[in-house]
């Protein structure tokens, strides 16, 4: 793994006994000695600390926030101009076919927009932003690490360092001072739990992580539990549940496109793939991402082919994420099915090791979100 990129926390992961794996070109911790199941449960019950420094932090700066937001709305079908100061919003870059190029978080930080993108997509995203936002400066933040602390104890843990952390609501962003270090903090995350993401200067990242881990409620959490947590939360993993061949409506992400960008909205369309996306928002798509609950105990993972009947020859779709949900205590999955099979309660079949086994279409998320709205 010598040619892999390392985050500023690499040595800390090793010292904590992490098992390191390749992920998006980085050497990343997949689990610590506690193990995936316990890491998952610890995050749901107390607080988990995640290294997400491999993700891209990008600053988009125009003459002012409104002009940068207006420019970015030509690439992203969400309401960016209406994003209030110190607020964050989920969004995605689309292509001309209405497919999703990447999903991301956008924050109004006064004189600029801070965008957090997926590690595997970041170089393409930055090239795409630079090529299309000629009046804005697009720059990757390369001197900061990104930590996430997730779980019900997160607020108390951070508030002990800066009381202002407790005052933030879900999707607020703020600059907080942890031991005198100015950190860019958002109250958000990708586990379904209350929590925060913290952008910290790279050379101070290990000290902050150690400070947080010194709290008895905080444990380090790897990619394994990160994946089962976000799956239970019904959240899309880019490159698996969403990609350039899935549209927002197919992915059940209509909620992320505000009315102002939809048909008859004040700033209707004007983003790549708008004709497809606007039609689907109005009329629906032919297939949809749904929650799936295998009836038996065998997990059904990504790639399992779905059928409407036990003997039907033609597949109807595929599982895009699946595994065991430690909190729900059973196997869970997400996948795409035609809308005719997308109603909750519908029974379909997945082919596992040559056998057709039943799954029930269920509502997402599998574990209720506990965001502090």
């Amino acid at each position: 793994m010598s040619d892999l990129l390392r985050t500023p926390l690499h040595d800390l992961h090793i010292s904590l006994g992490a098992k390191m794996v390749e992920f998006a070109g980085y050497s990343m911790p997949v689990q610590y000695p506690m193990g995936v199941m316990q890491e998952h449960t610890h995050t749901r019950e107390k607080a988990g600390l995640f290294d997400v420094s491999h993700m891209g932090q990008v600053i988009i700066k125009g003459p002012d926030f409104q002009s940068a937001a207006q420019a970015l709305e030509t690439l992203i079908p969400v309401d960016i101009m209406g994003l209030a100061l110190n607020r964050q919003r989920y969004g995605f870059l689309t292509n001309d076919a209405g497919g999703i190029m990447d999903d991301l978080m956008l924050a109004n930080r006064g004189d600029h927009i801070l965008v957090v993108v997926n590690a595997a997509c970041k170089s393409d995203d930055i090239a795409h932003l630079k090529a299309n936002l000629s009046d804005c400066a697009v720059s990757e933040v390369t001197d900061r690490a990104l930590l996430a602390i997730q779980g019900p104890a997160s607020a108390a843990v951070l508030a002990a360092l800066d009381p202002a952390a407790a005052e933030m609501r879900f999707m607020d962003v703020a600059v907080l001072s942890f031991d005198g270090v100015a950190c860019w903090v958002s109250r958000s995350g990708y586990t379904g739990e209350d929590g925060y993401e913290i952008s910290v200067p790279a050379h101070q990242a290990t000290a902050l992580a150690e400070r947080l881990l010194a709290h008895p409620d905080v444990a380090p959490i790897g990619l394994g539990a990160r994946d089962s947590l976000r799956l239970e939360a019904g959240l899309c993993l880019y490159g698996h549940d969403i990609d350039t061949l899935t549209t927002p409506t197919q992915a059940a992400l209509n909620w992320a496109i505000q009315n102002v960008r939809r048909r008859d909205g004040a700033r209707e369309g004007g983003f790549p793939g708008a004709p497809v996306i606007l039609d689907e928002l109005q009329d629906g798509a032919e297939r949809k991402r749904v929650g799936l609950r295998p009836d038996g105990r065998a997990p059904m993972r990504e790639g399992v082919t779905l059928f409407s009947g036990i003997d039907d020859a033609a597949p109807i779709g595929q599982i895009t994420s699946g595994g065991f949900g430690p909190t729900v205590g059973r196997p869970i999955a997400m996948g795409y099915v035609p809308v005719a099979h997308a109603q909750n309660g519908t029974i379909i079949y997945g082919e596992l090791r040559g056998k057709r086994l039943p799954l029930t279409v269920v509502a997402l998320p599998f574990t209720p979100h506990s965001f502090k709205r």
Partner: protein, 119 residues
């Protein structure tokens, strides 16, 4: 007691052999959440895939270490897959096989050789 390179342990019990996986293997696999066992009465050949183990992370197979007939499976594992982690050496056994060619046992490692392999 014998050990395979695939981290199975084989414990002769009369004319049958009890098969499980080692603590080293279960540590590598992580939390086991599902075990699919063979059918009692199945006639298997050495290296046939006879058990599927699903951990939180991934699925993996266990192969038959010997030619023979599956004479019993550990139904407690189907109910409580975590038993494979917690009691890998005894109560977490997978199946019992009646070997048709017991001399196949001779090819496997003893405990000292196995411990040297995983060291």
């Amino acid at each position: 007691m014998k050990f395979t390179e695939e981290h199975e342990w084989l414990r002769p019990e009369g004319d049958v052999v009890v098969v499980g996986i080692t603590a080293h293997a279960t540590t590598q696999l992580g939390d086991i959440v599902f075990v699919e066992l063979p059918e009692v009465g199945a006639i298997v050949a050495k290296d046939d895939e006879v058990v599927v183990i699903e951990s939180v992370k991934a699925a993996s197979d266990i192969m038959a270490p010997l030619d023979g007939e599956i004479v019993e499976v550990n139904t407690a594992l189907a109910e409580n897959p975590a038993l494979a982690n917690e009691a890998s050496g005894d109560a977490g056994w997978f199946f019992k096989i009646r070997p048709s060619n017991p001399s196949q046992m001779d090819a496997y490692m003893d405990e000292a050789a196995y411990n040297a392999m995983i060291a």
